[in-house]
């Protein structure tokens, strides 16, 4: 295409036809107004557009508009063989790609019936990677949340610590964010020599930093004033709305798929599941959700230490160990419908497959994304709050738009 060609002719009213407001200006009362938040605004965590009906500073209604980052994951999934969908899976929740891959690979392995043959070392490496990435994702969630409501320093601190994780993951997989490391039936490659030692150094390094983070942000009086008793999500509403992950646990239900489903090697690991207790306000407020994420980082560190013990002990690397040994040459599950779910940092990630038994390409590959469902509860909990609190609530949901829009 010649570069001087105009790609898009602007016409008045284009925007309003493609994403029309739900609320009509004619039906407003005289004191009400509609404010458009986003799609380009840092506090919306990407391209999220909120149509807000305001009465002065009070939010009367919120209508989220999504789809600005829609990249047709499900259409791609219907046109590619199972193993080639993994890079697309990475791009769903792009700050926690390992967790996505883990869920997807597990689903296809169960469809093929090889989930019990996977070597223990592979499973431990997978869990180690997933937990490292879970910490990275929670760092982003907490740091960006602090920045949303005005605390700038914690963001730099957590990004500094997250950098260590990204370098570890880059060392193992070759990429910083989108790894394609966990394959169906195995791994791209075994851990590099010396990874376990560096990883343990990281654990020792990050523990005091977490304490600092707690003092700086979580226990900060300003932070508590901004988040406690804001955006309270009652448990019955949370369950009815399908909310999962730290949001559901923040509302006080001890529900974690790593424990409930006990997939991979999680039953062999010792970790606890933190829930919101309303320490600073009420159960299910924004502070509780953030605190649950903070506590989950500590639990993930425990899991990492146990994994490292196993990887240095009974599942030690051997010269002839081939993590690709079980990777199937031809991935052709028998005809079935299959729903698999796993806990990623934001909640329950599910994949629905329909295999027709005749081809290597899924007939239907649907992704149930947790950010999508978690975001759908926003209009319920943002009624009657101040507009500054609306930003605090959106931040505490921890949406990644790549996963919302897929």
């Amino acid at each position: 295409m010649p570069t001087d060609q105009v790609q898009y002719k602007y016409k008045e009213g284009n925007l309003l036809r493609s994403e029309p407001n739900k609320l009509k200006a004619e039906s407003l009362r005289s004191e009400e107004m509609i404010i458009n938040l986003g799609p380009q605004h840092p506090s919306t965590h990407g391209v999220l557009r909120l149509e807000v009906l305001l009465d002065g500073e009070i939010v009367k209604e919120v209508v989220p508009h999504i789809g600005y980052l829609h990249r047709c994951f499900e259409k791609h999934g219907e046109n590619l063989p199972y193993n080639q969908v993994i890079p697309f899976v990475d791009r769903l929740d792009y700050v926690a790609a390992m967790n996505n891959e883990h869920a997807y690979a597990m689903g296809v392995e169960r469809m093929l019936g090889i989930e019990n043959q996977i070597p223990k070392r592979v499973e431990y490496v997978r869990v180690l990677m997933a937990e490292l990435n879970r910490i990275a994702s929670h760092f982003i969630a907490i740091g960006a949340y602090g920045m949303d409501i005005g605390a700038f320093t914690p963001f730099f601190w957590v990004l500094r610590d997250r950098e260590h994780i990204l370098r570890l993951l880059e060392w193992a997989s070759g990429a910083r964010l989108l790894y394609n490391y966990i394959w169906i039936g195995g791994l791209f490659y075994d851990l590099p020599v010396g990874f376990e030692e560096r990883c343990r150094e990281f654990v020792d390094y990050v523990k005091p930093k977490l304490k600092e983070l707690e003092t700086l942000l979580i226990d900060n009086k300003i932070f508590i004033d901004r988040t406690a008793n804001v955006g309270i999500l009652p448990l019955d509403l949370a369950i009815n709305s399908g909310v999962t992950g730290p949001m559901l646990r923040g509302s006080g239900l001890r529900f974690d798929l790593r424990r409930v489903d006990g997939y991979s090697v999680y039953p062999e690991l010792d970790f606890s599941i933190p829930i919101g207790e309303g320490k600073m306000g009420s159960v299910g407020d924004c502070w509780d959700r953030t605190y649950v994420r903070y506590l989950e980082i500590i639990e993930s560190l425990k899991i990492i230490e146990q994994c490292l013990d196993k990887l240095n002990g009974e599942h030690k690397r051997t010269r002839d160990f081939d993590p690709q040994a079980l990777v199937p040459k031809k991935i052709r599950p028998k005809a079935q419908d299959f729903y698999v779910r796993a806990e990623i940092p934001k909640g329950e990630l599910g994949f629905f497959f329909r295999a027709d038994g005749k081809s290597d390409v899924p007939f239907r590959c649907k992704c149930r994304s947790c950010s999508f469902v978690n975001l759908s509860v926003l209009p319920e909990i943002a009624k009657g709050v101040l507009i500054a609190d609306l930003i605090a609530i959106v931040g505490s949901i921890d949406v990644v738009m790549g996963e919302v829009d897929r």
């Binding site: 016409k11 829609h70 709305s241 909310v243 599910g350 329909r354 759908s376 509860v377």
Partner: protein
């Protein structure tokens, strides 16, 4: 457990018999689409099963030759740790089914997504608009016979 769920479904089905699909994981039951709302309401309410959360709503297009579409609902019961898939088969021409938004709020956006991608209408849905695609997009992209439009706002769609 599946027999119990099946008998609950049977008690609510007025337009046909529910059947079990053994090939699916979790176990699935097929019910007539006209009875969907009644069966879901009973499964949500019944204290023996108490399916209190709806995890996933999936639209499936079986293609022009089969002439059917399907909607699969993945239910989960937190207190009893039960999984269930409910499937309804719809005609490909003018597919319509009752919305379950009044039972589970999570159905709201998921059904909008199915409508957006397949054009399946959910009756009595509070807010059935497109959700991922632009409101003035033509056609339903995940239908098997979908052909995208040539130009959208003078932008060539084919890249």
């Amino acid at each position: 457990m599946l027999d119990e769920i099946l008998s609950i479904a049977k008690s609510q089905c007025k337009n046909g018999e529910p059947s079990v699909d053994d090939q699916a994981t979790p176990k699935a039951i097929r019910i007539p689409y006209a009875d969907l709302a009644a069966v879901c309401k009973e499964l949500h309410r019944n204290p023996a099963v108490y399916f209190d959360s709806l995890s996933c709503v999936t639209g499936i297009d079986n293609g022009v030759d089969a002439g059917t579409m399907e909607v699969a609902y993945n239910l989960y019961s937190i207190p009893f740790n039960l999984h269930l898939m409910i499937k309804v088969v719809l005609p490909r021409e003018n597919p319509e089914v009752e919305s379950v938004t009044s039972i589970w709020k999570s159905a709201n956006w998921m059904e909008r997504e199915v409508f957006d991608m397949y054009g399946i209408r959910f009756n009595n849905h509070p807010d059935l608009r497109r959700i991922l695609m632009p409101a003035d997009w033509e056609g339903y992209p995940l239908r098997k016979d979908y052909k995208h439009q040539d130009y959208y706002r003078d932008i060539k769609v084919e890249y």
